[in-house]
Symmetry: C2
Subunit: 332 residues, 2 copies
DNA sequence: CTGAAAGCGCTAACAC
DNA sequence: GTGTTAGCGCTTTCAG
């Protein structure tokens, strides 16, 4: 590829000045229809592409945003990402996708790299950073939206699923079906969402005048394998449990597998409720009763919110997305 | 956020010239350790971030690549994306992620937008464009890797899964188990991978001295719902079939559901083989026998290949990734 | 070892 | 309607 064609080439070829080309490009007025068309023709003929790099240098706007997620191959985040990307595209923005792989060092690294790219805004998902590190990193960005994490010591805009409410819905559903001994496969110990979900579990039981054994709560990594083992331990330790709420659907599937091994029939012997409603949830057997989280909508909302922020509008700081109970076969 | 700190600020504060700061930044020599450290200190103190925009304008290298996929929420592509992003990160590159949503117009639009961003390279997945449109779009990029599509009239580098071989493995497995009447839920009619998979199906049967009815091949959209309906039609039309190979795992899951409705026992009455081995495959009941495609590795390889291309190395043009048969319960 | 000058491709501000 | 000048923040080239 030889030298790329520049605005100067177009100007020369069309017999006008740089400014006139620039105006034609940006649909500004103060230019006759004739020249506009002539320039347009030259642009097409030469295959000219304006350089958003050069433009960005002068306008201080790059037309790009950053999206940082723990792992794009996790269906939860890939769906969020699609929502963000969709909104960005609709607003003529491009998005940098970065995976942190749950590694705080890597998270800092990608945030620094995004800062050097002079992105116009940032959507940050579920950060592993301490509040201090986070504050330090975020100061490089003028527009930002935090997902799934409440960041108390900042005025950053946040978009959250109503995790606590979701857990409450799950418990209420089980209580209505007569369950009183409800275990909790609670996922990672230090996840903000996980914490809220445990809070909803405890709160719903408390409100019903019931209590739970701390030992009914078992943490585990949010994967099928880790959960399968954790579920086996929990259910062996507490065979009296008649129901299990799970951190998310993957964990619930692990529990399902554990039950199959232990000869526990779901939902007859044990009811299981998941969380998130990823596509998998409706495809396993028995299909999972779970809490539906609007992941695409979450990404979309984060994107829209960010776009408004970039345009300089004031934003309210917390958006709480409602969740709903999906009743399927694992806890009918 | 006030004005961002620039190299000039650092230079002034450190009492040196712009050039010296630039040299310190880029680890060039011709600068004493003392000044280097002093500059480093000032950089940290001021929170200076070099502008990759300004740098890009002069160096013609932006440190960014583009990744275009049909749909990032599809587990196939989200995994490919993770592979690409991982390699990019390891090479200090950032990735623009774009979804085309299978829309050729949108695909052209994102490619144009990426061209204006002056990305250093492009990974393009499974294009819907005609060869002519594609050639036209690709000429804006100096380094490029095409995924899952053979582009005959170009010297572009390509990374492909061995789709035909995969289909052959599936058929051979079924033949070994005595199946002779094998249907094909063949997915979208105009997908390159789909075409190759049908070719493998036909080829393997032909090589075994067997034939198949054209009517045993039924196309459908690659979703669970579309496939469920298509499978029901096919199996009703041809109850003699004893096995079914499917375009991908989602289609296979649709077939599984159709069988459940029709009272067909899998694998006893009908064996089913999927394709891709997405996480879902091992989690449904019965677990899917399927063809494993190394999606992450595909992304990684595409990324590595692109990086070498960017560095100016000559690349061989076609990388064919091997696939393997995963025997599970749907066709033991 | 360090600095001054020029320029990357574009737009903002002001002429004509 | 259109052109001229200056400059965005950096690196390259050439002097010292």
């Amino acid at each position: 590829m030889s030298r790329r064609v520049t605005m100067a080439d177009v100007a020369r070829e069309a017999g006008v000045s740089l400014m006139t080309v620039s105006r034609a490009l940006n649909d500004k007025d103060g230019i006759s229809d004739a020249t506009r068309e002539r320039i347009q023709e030259v642009i097409v003929r030469l295959g000219y592409r304006p350089s958003s790099i050069a433009r960005g240098l002068v306008t201080k706007r790059t037309g790009t945003i950053g999206l940082v997620v723990p792992d794009n191959s996790n269906p939860y985040f890939s769906e969020v990402a699609r929502g963000v990307e969709h909104t960005a595209y609709a607003n003529n923005y491009s998005v940098f996708l970065c995976n942190t792989e749950e590694d705080p060092e890597r998270e800092k690294a990608v945030l620094h790299s995004l800062a050097e790219k002079y992105i116009d805004g940032l959507v940050l998902c579920s950060s592993r950073l301490t509040e201090e590190d986070l504050r330090d990193c975020l100061k490089d960005f003028s527009a930002q939206v935090l997902l799934n994490r409440l960041f108390t010591s900042s005025s950053a805009t946040m978009v959250l699923a109503h995790d606590e409410q979701g857990a409450r819905l799950a418990i209420q559903h089980l209580l209505e079906r007569g369950h009183r001994l409800i275990g909790n496969l609670a996922g990672p110990e230090r996840s903000y969402g996980g914490l809220m979900r445990v809070q909803g579990y405890a709160g719903a039981l408390y409100d019903a005048g019931l209590s739970y054994e701390p030992d009914w709560i078992q943490h585990c990594a949010p994967t099928v394998d880790a959960s399968q083992q954790a579920a086996a331990e929990l259910l062996t330790r507490h065979p009296e449990l008649t129901a299990l709420v799970c951190f998310n659907d993957l964990v619930a599937v692990g529990a399902l597998k554990a039950c199959r091994n232990l000869g526990i029939a779901v939902p007859k012997d044990l009811a299981i409720v998941g969380f998130d409603d990823i596509p998998l949830a409706s495809l396993v057997t028995p299909a999972l009763t779970t809490i539906h989280v609007q992941r695409y909508e979450m990404g979309r909302l984060a994107g829209e919110t960010l776009m408004r922020q970039i345009k300089g509008e004031k934003e309210r700081s917390v958006h709480l997305l409602p969740v709903t109970l999906m009743i399927r076969d694992s806890a009918p």
